[in-house]
Structures are given as structure tokens and as C-alpha cells.
């Protein structure tokens, strides 16, 4: 079992296989499953992600009324205008938003790695797949590459907002997505690690401050920005840009930042945006007290 990114990359290079294949083989070995079984289970998760994106793009509304409908707005804008940031980037943003809006509306999603950060990985996947002429198998591999990096973060740091703030949730999810984009675009295993490192570096310190304690504000938009950052980092890594701080050390830094983060910024709805006058007013409106 690989314990960190260095071991993950070494395994990939040693056997001359992509990161996704290292993850697939480890899963087969650890759970004593056939390749078919592992791929089928991931295919089921991929289908759920696909359905959530489709549903969100059609438009949903959460029970609290705090979120919903932004994916529709962005898609409409893309059709009618020329987005400044580019079609691919904004497509990823709209699909990440779509996923988290469905989540907030009690729809069905696949946690990647959590429900609150479920938008980054599928949002980017369904945006880049056409540009990269991805097959269904390539799309499954995208999820295994994401999973490999999430696996390292979960075991060495944290993927929980209550434990490590939003950097542990959207930070991890965006990093996972950027690594997967690099592999799908034909980058090397080393470049996947660079993308992960570059993304997570910019997420350090991000707090978890949900208004009224709900997985809505600012979670939906944080996933949108996470998805956009994942694409930019992937491009940087593919261009040959490297992180001066190795990926494993960035992950460790994220963990240590999380440990020293006051509890007001770890999913308690006591700090940050949740503690703003408007955040408090919304909370009062929703719970009536």
C-alpha cells in the first residue's frame, strides 16, 4: 500500500503505469476483488455523478432557499455571451455548482471526498472529457487518480471540515481533480503530483464557515472556484511548472494548519461568513430563533 505521494509516484514509475493503475491494482489487492468488480463499482459512482450534473444544470432549489439555480445562470451566460475565462473553465464551474446544488437540495450525489466538496472532481471531469476525447475507461481512470491523491490526504492529513477546515475538503477535492486532469491530458505521474501540490498550496488556511451550519453558503461557490483552480494548476503542471515544496510536505503543512485552526473556523458556524450580520440573519430566518 502506498502511504504517501512519493511512494505512489515511485510505484507508477517502477511498473511504468499511470497513477490510476496503481490505485486500481491496490484496490484489487486490498479488497481481494477482480478488476471487473472494481471498475463496475466505480462505473456506478460515475453514473451518479453524471446524473447529478444533469439534474443541477436543469435547475434545483434547496429547502432553505439559500442555494440553487446558479448552474442554470452560468450555462445560459455561456450560450449567449463569450465568457472571459473561457468555455472549458466556465463549463467546469457550472458543473461543479450543479453537483453541489443537487447535494444541497437533498439530491443524490457521490462524495468526492465528502458531500460538501462533491463538485470539484465531477465538475472538472465532465468539462474536460470532450476536449481530451476521453473514453468511458479514461473517465473511470480519472476517478481512480483523484481517489489515489484523496487516499493519501485522508490517511496523512484530513478530508473533514470539522477537523481541518475547508482546505481539507475543497482544498483536497480541487487538488485531486487537478492531478486527474493532468493524467487524462497525457501528463507524467510526476506532473500529477506537481498539480496536486500547486493546487493545495493555494488552498492552505481556507476555513470552513458554513452559514447556519448548512452545506450551502459558501460551499457551492467554493467548489466552483476549486474546479477552476484545478484546471489552471493542471495547465501549469503540464507546462512543466513544478512546486518548490514537494507534494507530501504541502499535504503535511495543510494538516498542521488544520490542527492549529480555531474551532470557530471548523464547521461550527461560529466564524467567518457564518458570523457576518447577513449570515446570522439568514440563520435566524431558517431556524426561526
Amino acid at each position: 500500500m502506498f502511504r504517501n505521494v512519493a511512494e505512489l509516484i515511485e510505484k507508477a514509475k517502477e511498473d511504468n503505469i499511470p497513477v490510476s493503475e496503481v490505485m486500481i491494482r491496490q484496490e484489487m489487492e486490498a479488497k481481494e476483488l477482480s478488476r471487473d468488480k472494481v471498475m463496475t463499482q466505480m462505473e456506478e459512482n460515475l453514473t451518479v455523478m453524471e446524473e447529478a450534473v444533469e439534474e443541477g444544470i436543469k435547475g434545483v432549489q434547496s429547502h432553505s432557499g439559500l442555494t440553487g439555480g446558479d448552474a442554470v445562470l452560468i450555462q445560459k451566460y455561456m450560450k449567449e455571451k463569450q465568457p472571459l475565462s473561457g468555455d472549458l473553465l466556465l463549463d467546469a464551474v457550472s458543473k461543479a455548482v450543479a453537483t453541489n446544488e443537487v447535494n444541497a437540495a437533498m439530491g443524490r450525489i457521490c462524495a468526492t471526498p465528502t458531500a460538501g466538496s462533491a463538485g470539484c472532481v465531477p465538475g472538472t471531469l465532465f468539462a474536460v472529457k470532450d476536449r481530451l476525447n476521453a473514453s468511458r475507461e479514461d473517465m473511470l481512470r480519472y476517478l481512480f487518480t483523484s481517489g489515489a491523491y484523496g487516499f493519501v490526504v485522508a490517511n496523512n492529513a484530513s478530508i473533514s471540515g470539522a477537523a481541518g477546515g475547508c482546505q481539507a475538503e475543497v482544498g483536497s477535492a480541487a487538488g485531486m481533480a487537478s492531478a486527474a486532469i493532468v493524467e487524462m491530458a497525457g501528463g507524467t505521474p510526476e506532473q500529477t503530483a506537481e498539480a496536486m501540490a500547486i493546487t493545495l498550496k493555494n488552498m492552505l488556511g481556507l476555513i470552513c464557515d458554513p452559514v447556519a451550519g448548512l452545506v450551502e453558503v459558501p460551499c457551492v461557490k467554493r467548489n466552483a472556484m476549486g474546479a477552476s483552480q484545478a484546471i489552471v494548476s493542471a495547465d501549469m503542471a503540464l507546462a512543466g511548472v513544478t512546486s518548490r515544496i514537494p507534494c507530501d510536505e504541502v499535504i503535511d503543512a495543510m494538516f498542521k494548519v488544520g490542527q492549529r485552526m480555531p474551532s470557530a473556523f471548523r464547521e461550527t458556524a461560529e466564524g467567518g461568513l457564518a458570523a457576518t450580520p447577513t449570515g446570522k440573519a439568514l440563520e435566524k430566518k431558517i431556524y426561526g430563533s
Binding site: V48, S64, M106, A111, T114
Partner: protein, 220 residues
């Protein structure tokens, strides 16, 4: 290592919005149902801490009732569980408790049908993982780090053997075991932590095993 599968990261498939406040709540409800054995006539839910202050927004009540109705975390029917309960004549009462719980996400459930009653306290510890901390007055010590099965059984010889024989036959390794009873010869409780999630066929076999009255699983 805490996480051992890629599907801990890419997964679970669940009804939103929160792995801890929705998926975890459904799992606590489902564990209570499995131990009760069927849909009860009455569901009493006491919410504490963060569950109490945010259950409306997260649909924690909806998810927990869905679990009691037998739904899994990914079942679409969770969304309409309160309506379903009403239609089926299941009385649901929610109590908002102000006392400070040990864990922020705590719920106490009481399921009732006629004279039969089951009381369970569960906590949701993150990412959809749960722990059951009390059952019918028995304090439990489930770490939540491993899948487990909770068995209510007759306090007599052979009960433990009949459960472990099934696990041995299915090549399921036991990591930790705990047996407790309130009074000699009465109802007893067995908790077995195992290395992998238990499948439906194994659960059915355990439920029908000699001296075992109820079986519920805690999955990873």
C-alpha cells in the same frame, strides 16, 4: 491506516447535503431499524448538540426516519420519508434537547410497537461514519473505525458460537469482540468488529441463527 479503499474517497453515493448530518443520520436510523426488526408504530427522536441546532436545514430528521423505514444512504425515498411515515401510520415525534452531549452529533432514538420497545443512542463522527454508544441501556464501545455487527441474543451457551461459526464460514476475520448482559439468563448483547463490510446474505444468516434475536450492522 484509517482509510483502506478508494471507495472511501470516491464515495459513498448518498442523498445530500451532509455526509455527517444526513448520511450518518440515515445510518443511525437504519441500525435502529435492523435491531428492532421491522418498521415500528412510533419513532421518538431526541436530537442533541449540532444535530439539534441544524437538523431542519440538513434534513437530519428526514434522513433518520428514512433509515428507520429501511432506506440506505443513497435511496431517493429518503426525501419523502416523513410523508411516507405519515401515510403508513407511523407516528414521528422529534424532541429538541438542550443538554450538552459528549459528541456534537448525537441522537437518541426510541422505536415502539405495542409493548415492544428499543432505545438506541448514536453519534455521527464524520464522512458518514457512525457509532452506536448505547442500546437498551447497554453502553457500547464501537470505535467506528471498523465495520461491526451488533447482535441481541439469548444469554445462554451456544449463542456466541453460533454467530462466530457463520463469520468463520464466510472467512470474515474478527478484530474485537464484546459481550455484555444486564441479568443472568436474560437478553444479552454481542458486538463483533470485523475487517470487512458484512453482505446482505451474511446478515440474513446471522438473523436466523440459533439464539440470536436481532442483528444490525455498522458498515464502513
Amino acid at each position: 491506516m484509517k482509510y483502506r479503499s478508494v471507495f472511501d474517497i470516491i464515495g459513498p453515493v448518498m442523498i445530500g447535503p451532509s455526509s455527517s448530518h444526513t448520511a450518518g443520520a440515515a445510518r443511525i436510523g437504519r441500525a435502529a431499524r435492523d435491531l428492532f426488526g421491522r418498521t415500528p408504530e412510533e419513532i421518538d427522536i431526541h436530537f442533541y448538540g449540532s444535530f439539534m441546532s441544524t437538523f431542519k436545514g440538513h434534513g437530519t430528521d428526514v434522513a433518520m426516519v428514512g433509515g428507520v423505514l429501511g432506506y440506505e444512504t443513497f435511496d431517493d425515498r429518503i426525501k419523502t420519508s416523513l410523508e411516507t411515515a405519515e401515510k403508513e401510520g407511523v407516528k414521528v415525534v422529534i424532541h429538541e434537547e438542550v443538554s450538552e452531549p459528549e459528541h456534537p452529533n448525537t441522537a437518541r432514538l426510541r422505536l415502539k410497537s405495542g409493548d415492544e420497545e428499543l432505545e438506541l443512542t448514536g453519534i455521527s463522527i464524520g464522512g458518514g461514519k457512525i457509532e452506536i454508544t448505547e442500546l437498551n441501556g447497554f453502553p457500547l464501545h464501537l470505535t467506528g473505525e471498523h465495520p461491526a455487527v451488533v447482535l441481541l441474543h439469548d444469554d445462554r451457551y451456544g449463542a456466541i458460537a453460533s454467530a462466530t461459526a457463520i463469520l468463520a464460514k464466510e472467512k470474515i476475520n474478527i478484530g474485537r469482540m464484546e459481550v455484555s448482559r444486564k441479568a443472568e439468563g436474560a437478553q444479552a448483547l454481542m458486538i463483533i468488529e470485523v475487517d470487512q463490510n458484512l453482505t446482505d446474505p451474511v446478515m440474513e444468516e446471522l438473523q436466523e441463527a440459533d439464539h440470536i434475536s436481532r442483528a444490525a450492522r455498522i458498515s464502513e
